[in-house]
C-alpha cells in the first residue's frame, strides 16, 4: 500500500460492504437463504469529522460498525483504513496483521452497565488497552490513566473505585476514557447516549464534541435518535433494511429530504416544541422481516409515492449534482418536505 505524503482526507472508505447471515434448516444445517444485514453499502468518513449513521431496527447500522472494527467478518466488500502508515483494507486482513491497526479504531458501547467489567477497578479498565499494547510499566500507565480520567471529567482518584459506584453517565465517560487510551483516529460510537437520562445525554454529547475538537478524532455516530445525530454530525447516512437510502448534511436532510423514508422518519420524531408544525406523514405498516425483504425497493410497501417500477427493481444509488446520493426511482418527481 502506498504511503502518501499528504494524508488522505478520508480516514475510512467503505466500498460495497456486504454482510449476509446464512439461514439454515434441517439436521445438516442446509443454507436456505440469507439475512442481508448489510447490502452493498458505500460511504466515507472524512478525517476529523462525524458521520451519523441513522436508522431503525434491522437497518444494519450496528452490523456496519462491527464490520469496521472487525468484530464480525464482512461477507464481501472493502473497508479502507487510511492511517499515517498508509492504507489498509481492513475487511479481509488476517487477525495478526490487523492487530497493530486496532489501535487506530476504538468503540464506545451503548449499555453503560455491561461495557465495563464489574470486577475490575477503573485503573484496570482504562489501562487495559495500554497493557495489551506494550506499555507494561505501571507508573507510565498510572500517569496516562490520570490524564485520561481528567480529560473526561472524572477525578483521577476515582481510579481505585469499581464501576458499581458510578452512574450511567459516569460509566459512559469511563468507556470513553478507555477508548482514548491508545490515541485512536476513529471512534465508533454505537448509540452512546440511548441508555442515559436526558439531562446526562447532553453532558456526554458535549464531551464527545470537545474531545473531537481537541484531539482531531473522527466519529462514526450510530443512533436511532435523529435529533442528536442532527446536532453532532457533519454528514448523515440514512439506512433502511441494510441499504443506504440517502445521505447529506444535516441541513440538507432535514430541510429537503430526497427519500420518502427520510421524510417519514423526520416527521415521526416528536419535537419538544408545541409550536412546530409538521408534515404529518405517519408511515403505515411495519419494518419487514430482514430474512424476507420485499422485492425491488425494500421500502415500497410502505411508501406513499411508490410506482410500479418500485415494486420490481431496486433503485441503485443516484448521485445528484450537489453530491448528495439517494436511492429512489421517483426522487425527481416527488416533492418531499422536512422540518418546517
Amino acid at each position: 500500500m502506498s504511503a502518501t505524503k499528504t494524508k488522505n482526507e478520508n480516514i475510512v472508505e467503505i466500498k460495497n460492504l456486504k454482510k449476509y447471515y446464512p439461514i439454515t434448516a434441517g439436521i445438516f444445517q442446509r443454507v436456505i437463504g440469507h439475512i442481508k444485514a448489510v447490502d452493498d453499502v458505500s460511504f466515507v468518513i472524512p478525517r476529523g469529522k462525524t458521520v451519523g449513521l441513522v436508522g431503525e431496527s434491522g437497518c444494519g447500522k450496528t452490523t456496519i460498525s462491527k464490520c469496521i472494527l472487525r468484530a464480525v467478518d464482512p461477507t464481501s466488500g472493502e473497508i479502507h483504513l487510511n492511517t499515517e502508515d498508509g492504507t489498509n483494507n481492513v475487511a479481509d486482513m488476517r487477525e495478526k496483521d490487523l492487530r497493530p491497526l486496532r489501535r487506530e479504531m476504538q468503540m464506545i458501547f451503548q449499555d453503560p452497565f455491561s461495557s465495563l467489567n464489574p470486577r475490575m477497578n477503573l485503573f484496570d479498565i482504562v489501562s487495559e488497552p495500554l497493557l495489551l499494547n506494550g506499555i507494561k510499566s505501571r507508573i507510565e500507565r498510572q500517569d496516562r490513566v490520570e490524564e485520561l480520567l481528567s480529560k473526561v471529567g472524572l477525578r483521577p482518584e476515582y481510579m481505585v473505585r469499581f464501576p458499581h459506584a458510578f452512574s450511567g453517565g459516569q460509566r459512559q465517560r469511563i468507556g470513553i476514557a478507555r477508548a482514548l487510551a491508545l490515541n485512536p483516529s476513529l471512534i465508533v460510537c454505537d448509540e452512546p447516549v440511548s441508555g442515559l437520562d436526558v439531562s446526562v445525554q447532553a453532558q456526554v454529547i458535549n464531551l464527545l464534541m470537545d474531545l473531537q475538537d481537541e484531539l482531531g478524532l473522527s466519529y462514526l455516530f450510530v443512533s436511532h435518535d435523529l435529533s442528536i445525530v442532527r446536532q453532532i454530525s457533519d454528514s448523515i447516512q440514512v439506512m433502511y433494511l441494510g441499504r443506504l437510502v440517502e445521505n447529506g448534511t444535516p441541513d440538507e436532510i432535514f430541510s429537503s429530504p430526497k427519500h420518502p423514508y427520510t421524510e417519514a422518519l423526520i416527521s415521526a420524531v416528536p419535537q419538544a416544541d408545541p409550536d412546530v408544525t409538521k408534515n404529518h406523514q405517519t408511515l403505515i405498516g411495519e419494518i419487514p422481516n430482514p430474512s424476507n425483504p420485499p422485492d425491488g425497493c425494500y421500502f415500497h410497501p410502505r411508501c406513499a409515492y411508490a410506482t410500479d417500477e418500485c415494486k420490481i427493481t431496486n433503485p441503485g444509488l443516484t448521485v445528484d449534482k450537489s453530491g448528495r446520493s439517494f436511492s429512489c426511482h421517483n426522487a425527481k418527481d416527488i416533492k418531499l418536505s422536512g422540518l418546517i
Binding site: 436526558v198 412546530v276 408511515l283
Partner: protein, 340 residues
Amino acid sequence: MTTKNKLDKETSILEVRGLKTYFYTADGIVRAVDGVDLDIFPKRTLGIVGESGCGKSITTKSILRLIDHPGRIIEGQVNLKGDTPKDTVDITQLKNNGTQLRQIRGGRISMIFQEPMTSFSPIHTVGNQITEAIRLHSNLDKIEANELAEDWLIRVGMSNPSQRLKQYAFELSGGQRQRAMIAMALCTNPDVLIADEPTTALDVTTQAQVLDLLKEMQEKNGMSIIMITHDLGVIAELADDVSVMYLGKVVESGTIRQVFKNPKHPYTQALLSSIPSLATGHRERLPILTGTIPHPQARPKGCPFNPRCKDFIEGTCEISFPEQEIIEEGHLVNCHLYNK
C-alpha cells in the same frame, strides 16, 4: 392544598393529593413518591415527565395500588370521581384486592406498559386475554366478548384481526403487540388510561403510529390519558397538561404551552434546554445540568434539586421544600424563586 385550575377544563375525574409511597429496604427508606398532587381531567392527557428516580412510575402504580412489599403507600388520597360527588372513591382506602378495587383496575382505570412482551401471558392467546378482560368487567358471554374483542382489534388498526385473536403474543411484532395491549386496555371503556413509557422500546416510526392511535382513541372514546415518559418530544405531541417530577416531588405543572414555552422551575428549564431542538445550531454545545441524580438514600435536604440548581439561594433552598406558587391560572411551580 392545590387551588383548582379552571381554564376551560371540567372538574377533574381523578385527583391525587399528597401521595407518599415509601420503600422500606434493608439499606434504608427510599422515598420514591414524596407528596405528589395531580389532577386528571376528562378527555385530556396529562404527561408526567422526569428522569430516573423521580418516581413517575411508582406514582401511577400507587394509583392502581400495585405497590408490593417493601413499598407502602403511607399517606395521601387518590380520589376517583363518579357521577355524583357522593360517588367519589378514595382508592388508597379500598380493601387490598377487594371487589371494589378490582372493578376499578381494568374497568375504570387501565394501564399499558413499556414492554408489551412481558405484559401478555405467553401461554394464552391474545384473544383469550382480551376476552378475559371484557368478561371480568361486563356481563357478556363468551361469544359476545369474542366479537367485541375482534371489533377492538379492528379499531386499533390491527391487520387480520380474526387471525390475531388466535395468535400468541410472541408471534406478533413489537408494534402489533402494543396495539393489542391498547385494545386490551380500552375494551372495557375505562375513564382513565395510564400509559407507562408505552413507546420507549419501539422504533421511531412505530412510535408515531402508536401515538397517533392513542390520540385517535382519546377523541373517539373520550377517556383521559396519563402518559409517563422521559421523552419531552412525546409529551409535547401527545399531552395537554404536564407535571414535571424530580426525586419524588412535582416541581412544576401546567398546560403544555405554559410549561414548555415558559418554564419557571430551574429543573424544567435545564431539561428543556438540554435536548437538541430545531433551534440548536450545528455542533452547538448544549447547556448542561451539572452533577448527577442523587442516590435514593442520599436525598438532599430542603428542595431536592438544590445541589444542582443554578439559581440556588443559600439559606433557603437547602432548608425547606418550597410551597406551591401560582404563576398564572393552571401553571403551578414549587420553587423558592417565586415565593411571594
